[in-house]
Symmetry: C2
Subunit: 220 residues, 2 copies
């Protein structure tokens, strides 16, 4: 195996490590809300530092790979896509941290029945995240396509959740109930954002595989 | 002037065009809310398509510059920073679109008095955006530093706004009032996100100028 190929495999491995950390952060943050387990937030906060460090290592690896090997074509696309995916992953970790910070407030109070469609939305978003990483790992543009197709579903779930919570807020004069409903709205927004990042990664995978920039295609 | 230098200037010009479009989108979206001028949302939507197209052109220019010139050191840092800044700018445009979409609902109703600290927060965020772009344009790491220092101010303003709006929500049983207060909360979140993107750009400028990755430095 050429030295360059070893280095490229090494980059891929580092980015998959980053993805692993961030996927855990997302899973723990979602479980924290759905299973009402306050201890899980610490798991997320512990991993944030690791994610931040790994982000810098991956970026540095990409820059060195370009500077020392002058890649072109598919190799260059792989490296620049890796930089972009790396950045999306780090921001996904931030969303997980945000969910936990809201969750720490939310879990001070008893459960707001119902959690509406939050668990369903979380499940869909986590599946998008897993599939987008898997599509990157196996260079599977078709799998990346299925991630894109779930984006509308997530948007609709978010709209339903916010509408349902608003009904709930109108019917209560209890301030703590109001706060909890708002916290759930913010969590729905964070979940939507996680779905957006998974969509970005899926678009990068398609670009990486086909060399075709499909971003914003639906809006042209 | 070398052909490569001409190409680099060309990239910088394209990225500044992108920044110009996005700055206009942000300004119009903020003015729409603060001045209650519904017509401004159309100005934002019109520019979104242009921003999306320009994003793709800038990225393509960066890839070609790397592939054809094999830059290293400061030149390579400039190009990869341009890719990152380009991506932040496009997402800032999305935030402006989000603000307008919320604004179109908000402006159906009379003004919710007071708008609390939203205009103040918007002013701070717009200044951060302008300074981050200017820092990029003039390679001014010190100006970029001042952008970073405003991040905490924006966070504090957001916390105050959400607290004030919550008080307001507790005191009303009017559903439309509740919706308007919520819309303003979401706008505060969008403004916070715009500030985050300006911070990202400022960090990229510092990396570009000094070759030092300062992301997450405060958390280590």
């Amino acid at each position: 195996m050429r030295h360059f190929d070893i280095e490229m495999n090494n980059l891929k491995k580092k980015l998959l490590d980053m993805a692993e950390i961030v996927q855990e952060m997302i899973k723990f943050s979602v479980d924290m809300i759905v299973k009402r387990d306050i201890n899980l937030s610490q798991e997320v906060f512990n991993r944030e530092r690791e994610a931040n460090l790994t982000e810098i290592v991956v970026d540095d690896t990409c820059l060195k790979l370009i500077a020392l090997n002058q890649p072109v074509g598919a190799d260059l696309r792989f490296i620049t896509s890796a930089m972009r995916i790396n950045s999306d992953l780090e921001r996904m970790g931030d969303e997980a941290v945000n969910i936990c910070e809201i969750g720490e407030n939310l879990l001070k109070y008893p459960d707001l029945k119902p959690l509406i469609d939050i668990p369903k939305m979380a499940k869909t978003v986590v599946a998008m995240v897993i599939d987008s990483i898997c599509a990157f790992n196996t260079s599977d543009a078709e799998l990346a396509d299925t991630v894109l197709s779930k984006d509308d579903e997530v948007d609709e779930l978010k709209i339903t959740i916010i509408k349902d919570l608003l009904e709930f807020m109108t019917d209560t004069s209890d301030k703590t109930m109001l706060i909890r409903a708002m916290d759930l709205m913010f969590i729905a927004k964070n979940l939507e954002r996680l779905g957006d990042h998974a969509t970005n990664i899926a678009e990068d995978v398609i670009f990486m595989v086909h060399g075709k920039d499909i971003r914003h295609l639906r809006s042209f």
